[in-house]
């Protein structure tokens, strides 16, 4: 009748490291997105590229901020 303990899907000790890496990658992709916005002219802009970059950036930033919250003790 051994009960199976439930733990977090990601080891708790990894939260600070994960938050730093995901946030860095997210901010780099955000930078790519804004550089694209400012350096391209109205004619050359491709909406698909913009949306793809922003989607990937928001995923990384979203998970990064979640891990940042967990690492700082706010267990949401």
């Amino acid at each position: 009748m051994a009960a199976k303990p439930i733990a977090s899907p990601i080891p708790v000790a990894l939260y600070p490291t994960l938050s730093v890496f995901t946030l860095t990658i997210g901010l780099v992709i955000t930078a790519i997105f804004f550089i694209y916005e400012t350096t391209s002219s109205r004619k050359n802009r491709s909406l698909g590229k913009e949306l793809a970059t922003s989607a990937v950036a928001s995923v990384f930033l979203g998970f990064g901020s979640l891990f940042l919250l967990l690492a700082s003790g706010v267990y949401v």
């Binding site: 009960a3 199976k4 439930i6 899907p9 949306l51 922003s54 950036a57 928001s58």
Partner: protein, 464 residues
């Protein structure tokens, strides 16, 4: 929803539907020995009974009788059946439930003890009963100054109140110190040091009662928590956060006159003999982020010792507590999730936690435990070994849309013997954990879409 929350677990309901019981005159108590421990403000009574069935039909249970004042102050009743002799004794826990008898004389209260196997005619069984009384020591004098010692009254009966005939009985009363002002003497009664012996009494009829009053000195800390609210927040991301709000009082003789700090510090053994200034809380072993604060701020007079089996937090309120004084504070700590959350065989998750108050030798007048389940949990269900009032609430916390279900368990008159594990079951689909990061991702995506819209919208009036 309310219909699904039962006050009793299903197992308890089965025990309540016991078949016919034998009448009170079928059993007889051959020998009874009672030991009353008055060392602290929680009165512990140990009864060793030898019960014989003098009827013709097997008896499945017996009744324990208590006077009306005792029934009000009774915190817990436990019974064990003793089998074997001398060194090979084994103890089996028995089921004890409050019982109602329609023909009870003088408002006597009853508890029904169910035997392991029905007692045949002519057979005897040995039982050990433990019952705990709270608020039973009445301070007299009611008010004392700082330099006086605390004296209390204890009201009880020299003869054990029982619905059965008792052939032989003795009562031993243990006091915390050798100072006993007076005690009612019901022959044969004598006192030696810290022990008062009432008995042996022979052949007492059922429901015989001989009231006695013992007036003695008791300077043990009368720590009473008037109200304790414990909130256990489960986060599937890896931790259990426990926050406890205490309202602590000194429940002994009220303090009158001035409080002299000089006297208190210089003559500590004489001054404030019944006051206390330190308390001990027993916390789980792998505890971290412990804080102790009140409305003013952090209280630094505390020591935390972590260990392998338990952690101890020794803390002091901002001032020593004398009779009638109060202290309000909050203790919070975090424990890892895998120590307390498990998966049952049918796929449901359950929290296995300890009920009661972590403070040692303390009575809690009103205890509320709130188990906050993560968002997306369904069908909460609590299982406890004793009766509590159950309720459901909703709490809105970080990144919540629909709110978190809170299982509220409420119990009055809680003593340290109530610190037993209890379980709260609920169902949870792991996919709901992604709701929180999804909310954050969509918030960031909204910012990007807004900046895209700003860049793409052409607000020029003139055509280029």
């Amino acid at each position: 929803m309310a219909a699904r929350i039962g006050i009793f677990a299903v197992v308890v309901a089965v025990f309540l539907s016991i078949p016919a019981f034998s009448s009170a005159q079928d059993l007889q108590i051959v020998n009874a020995e009672r030991r009353i421990d008055l060392s602290s403000h929680i009165v512990k009574d140990f009864l060793t009974l030898k019960v014989e069935n003098i009827g013709i039909s097997p008896a499945a249970e017996m009744l324990l009788a208590f006077s009306p004042t005792q029934i009000k102050n009774l915190a817990m009743v436990q019974a064990l059946a003793i089998t074997g002799k001398k060194k090979k004794k084994t103890y089996l826990p028995l089921d004890v439930k409050p019982a109602e008898q329609p023909d009870a004389p003088n408002d006597t209260g009853y508890y029904r003890v169910t035997f392991v196997s029905p007692l045949g005619p002519g057979e005897t069984v040995s039982l050990e009963v433990l019952y705990i009384l709270t608020n039973s020591l009445e301070p007299f004098p009611v008010e004392i100054t700082q330099s006086e010692s605390q004296l209390v009254y204890y009201h009880d009966s020299a003869v054990i109140l029982s619905p059965y005939h008792v052939k032989q009985q003795t009562t031993f009363v243990k006091t915390p110190s050798t100072r006993v002002e007076s005690f009612t003497s019901i022959e044969p009664a004598n006192r030696a040091g810290k022990e008062i012996k009432y008995g042996p009494y022979e052949n007492r009829a059922s429901y015989s009662y001989a009231p006695v009053i013992i007036h003695f000195e008791n300077n043990s800390p009368f720590a009473v928590v008037e109200e304790l609210v414990r909130e256990i927040e489960i986060s599937h991301w890896g931790s259990l956060q426990i926050t406890e709000h205490y309202r602590l009082t000194h429940g002994g003789a009220r303090h009158k006159g001035v409080f002299s700090r000089v006297d208190y510090q210089s003559k500590r053994s004489v001054s404030g003999a019944s006051s206390f200034n330190a308390l001990l809380a027993v916390l789980p072993p792998r505890v971290n982020s412990v804080y102790y604060r009140d409305d003013i701020g952090n209280i630094s007079t505390s020591h935390l010792r972590t260990g392998f089996r338990k952690s101890e937090l020794e803390f002091e309120p901002r001032y020593p507590l004398f009779g009638g004084w109060r202290a309000t504070f909050i203790i919070g700590y975090r424990v890892p999730l895998e120590d307390y959350l498990f998966e049952a065989s049918d796929g449901r998750r359950y929290l296995n936690f300890t009920f009661g108050c972590p403070l040692v030798e303390t009575i809690v007048n009103k205890l509320t435990i709130k188990v906050v389940l993560p968002e997306g949990s369904k069908d909460p269900y609590a299982i406890l070994p004793f009766t509590v009032n159950q309720d459901l609430q909703v709490k809105y916390s970080y990144l919540d849309i629909v709110g978190r279900t809170v299982v509220v368990l409420q119990k009055d008159n809680v003593v340290p013997t109530h610190n037993v594990p209890f379980q709260v079951y609920y169902t949870f689909k792991p996919i709901y954990m992604l709701a929180e990061p999804f909310m954050l991702v969509s918030a960031f995506f909204f910012v990007f879409v807004a900046s895209l819209a700003y860049v793409h919208i052409d607000l020029n009036i003139a055509r280029k």
